[in-house]
């Protein structure tokens, strides 16, 4: 297996590295902060990040420097940074490792981002279930505050940046940036209608940037080693740097693997993750978390970067690669994901709220061999009427498993329905067509 330079996971891979402030400083940590605060102007920091080509690691892949550039330049009031640590996309577990094993790397990124955008307060919105992660972060913040890296008058520069951990409470939708802001304001996590975007009207209606944990963790490295170094890694010009891919499912060695973007799925799954766990060949994989459409082994040589995965009909999303072996029912897999989306739909938009329930009912019926051929049309019809018709991207995400499994494995649906027809049991009318 070719060795690639690790950026984000490098420290934690060292024997004995426990993620304390002393460990992090010994590994060169907080040097970027020392060399930047008060020495490089905030617009120059933003320019460096833009030049590096860094794109958001949470799912949407929006260029980070460009996002920062949307903040109003002449606004005098407070601005906020929110670190999106609500990692809840099924198949994704990288932020948990970054926060629990090397919290100061994330914190240094947060303070650098605060400096660049002029924010004096940052909130780390961590998913509520990660109690250990929130404790580790709070401890790290205390250490960093005592050492003068966080708080008032950082390192004597007169620059302030306070960081607080804020726990979510078990809602997937709060990973959507405007739902996150609503939740942080103590409300139900319902996504906001955009525009206005958080850059102008975010937390408490103030200019706000929401960045993913992995995105922020990249910042110290970009600042200390330069944007050109970063821009040369991966699959330039549009997908630069590494990604921490989370491999799960039927592989020998599931886990987090940091590799340059542009690596093929084949190499990631068969070299890094050890290949399939049994003799059964691969049947399907999801390249970017539950919201990304399924792909088939025919797509094994697709490069894992934003453009190539999109061209193959899916999306790189959050980097959660889930592998399924031959013998896995794709109708069942689609139903499992659909049940997740049904459970997590926030209920704000009717197409998503009602549609997700209908999709689950229809899939359950087909799987229970009570389906009709018309159900397939109903499924596609529902998908068409959900995607693009909701306030946030959840609607597009929830139809992905059904549309893609119906595209690649329609015969499995048909076989189940044929069995139902042969058995001639009582079958309900398709939902929504009474």
């Amino acid at each position: 297996m070719p060795q690639h330079e690790l950026i984000l996971l490098k420290n934690m891979m060292q024997p004995g590295y426990a993620g304390s402030l002393a460990d992090y400083e010994k590994a060169g940590g907080y040097q970027a902060l020392r060399n930047t605060l008060g020495k490089v102007s905030p617009p120059d920091v933003t320019a460096m990040v833009r030049k590096s080509g860094l794109r958001g690691r949470g799912g949407a892949g929006f260029p980070t420097g460009v996002k920062w550039g949307f903040l109003p330049k002449d606004y005098q009031g407070p601005r906020y940074l929110c670190c999106n640590a609500d990692e809840s996309e099924p198949g994704t577990f990288k932020d948990r490792q970054l926060m629990e094993r090397d919290p100061h790397q994330v914190l240094e990124g947060i303070v650098l981002a605060c400096y660049a955008i002029g924010a004096e307060t940052a909130y780390i919105y961590i998913r509520g279930e990660m109690v250990l992660g929130s404790k580790i972060l709070e401890q790290a913040i205390d250490e960093a505050r005592a050492a003068g890296y966080i708080g008032k008058n950082i390192l004597g520069t007169g620059i302030n940046a306070d960081v607080w951990v804020h726990r979510g409470a078990g809602a997937y939708i709060c990973g959507e940036e405007t739902a996150l802001l609503e939740s942080l304001e103590g409300k139900r996590g319902l996504p906001r209608i955009k525009p206005p975007f958080p850059a102008t009207h975010g937390l408490y209606n103030k200019p706000t940037v929401v960045n993913n944990v992995e995105t922020l963790a990249n910042l110290p490295h970009i600042i200390s080693r330069g944007p050109d170094w970063f821009a040369a890694i991966g699959s330039p010009p549009k997908s630069t740097g590494t990604r921490v891919f989370c491999v799960s499912g039927h592989v020998k060695r599931p886990g987090n693997y940091e590799v340059p973007m542009g690596m093929t799925v084949r190499e990631l799954v068969y070299e890094h993750a050890g290949g399939m766990r049994s003799d059964k060949p691969m049947k399907a994989f999801i390249p970017g978390g539950a919201s990304a459409p399924f792909l088939t082994p025919a797509h094994l040589d697709v490069k894992l970067d934003f453009e190539h995965v999109a061209a193959a009909g899916s999306m790189l999303g959050s980097g959660g690669v889930t592998v399924m072996e031959e013998g896995t029912s794709m109708v069942w897999a689609a139903l499992r994901l659909m049940e997740f989306f049904y459970h997590e739909s926030c209920g704000k938009c009717s197409p998503c709220r009602e549609g997700s329930s209908w999709l689950v009912q229809t899939l359950r019926r087909i799987l229970a061999k009570r389906g009709r051929m018309e159900d397939l049309e109903t499924l596609l019809d529902l998908c068409k009427n959900i995607a693009g018709r909701t306030v946030c991207a959840f609607g597009d995400a929830e139809v992905a498993p059904i549309q893609s499994t119906l595209k690649h494995w329609r015969q499995e649906y048909v076989a189940l329905i044929n069995e139902a027809e042969a058995a001639n049991l009582i079958r309900p009318e398709p939902v929504g067509r009474h």
Partner: protein
């Protein structure tokens, strides 16, 4: 499927909960002040304060909700509309150990349904129920971000990953006898580094 009915079972034995006469705001005066100091707008402290209330009793009592509403200058319905959106808040007493098993696709691929069956058989309860001694409540939940180390479950604040039947037996025994188990997950890293020199 999770539902309010299952999460709010009235019949749960809550004798393990210690009750005292102090009000919520008296008992946690300093912690409440610390939380309030972090936010420029009071309502942001709502979820953190609900967590404090839940830690106290294992669930959020109506009186705690009313006190929190008062503290944050909110109406009780504003507190209630928020708390009912989030699945991690209990509105009725739960067992001392709340077992939550992930059933999402990634865990299901590696056997979470079997884990659920084991727990059902070992504890004699179905998801949404609690054991008669008030020790265990079982819930089946969606993704907890441990997909590479499934099947997994969360018990109160702790994750338990890569579950096997033996491991599960040990965890349940440990919880009964010691209230915690050394098999719980520490700071997460998987796979562990292979080339340790």
């Amino acid at each position: 499927m999770w539902s309010w009915e299952s999460a709010t079972d009235e019949s749960v034995n809550d004798s393990w909960i210690q009750r005292d006469s102090m009000t919520f705001s008296e008992k946690y005066k300093d912690e409440i002040a610390d939380i309030l100091s972090r936010y420029p707008v009071k309502r942001s402290a709502l979820i953190p304060l609900l967590y404090v209330a839940q830690r106290d009793q294992g669930y959020v009592t109506e009186s705690a909700m009313l006190e929190i509403a008062h503290l944050l200058k909110l109406t009780p319905p504003q507190v209630y509309e928020t708390i009912t959106f989030y699945t991690m808040f209990n509105l009725k007493p739960m067992g001392k150990f709340h077992i939550q098993v992930c059933k999402s696709l990634m865990c299901a691929l590696v056997g979470s349904d079997t884990v659920i069956e084991w727990i059902k058989a070992k504890l004699g309860i179905a998801p949404g129920e609690s054991t008669a001694d008030g020790l265990f409540s079982l819930s089946v939940v969606e993704c907890l971000a441990a997909c590479g180390t499934g099947p997994m479950m969360q018990v109160n604040d702790d994750y338990y990953e890569q579950l096997t039947e033996n491991k599960l037996d040990r965890i349940l025994t440990d919880l009964r006898s010691a209230g915690t188990s050394p098999l719980k997950s520490g700071p997460f890293m998987w796979p562990e580094p292979v080339n340790v020199k």
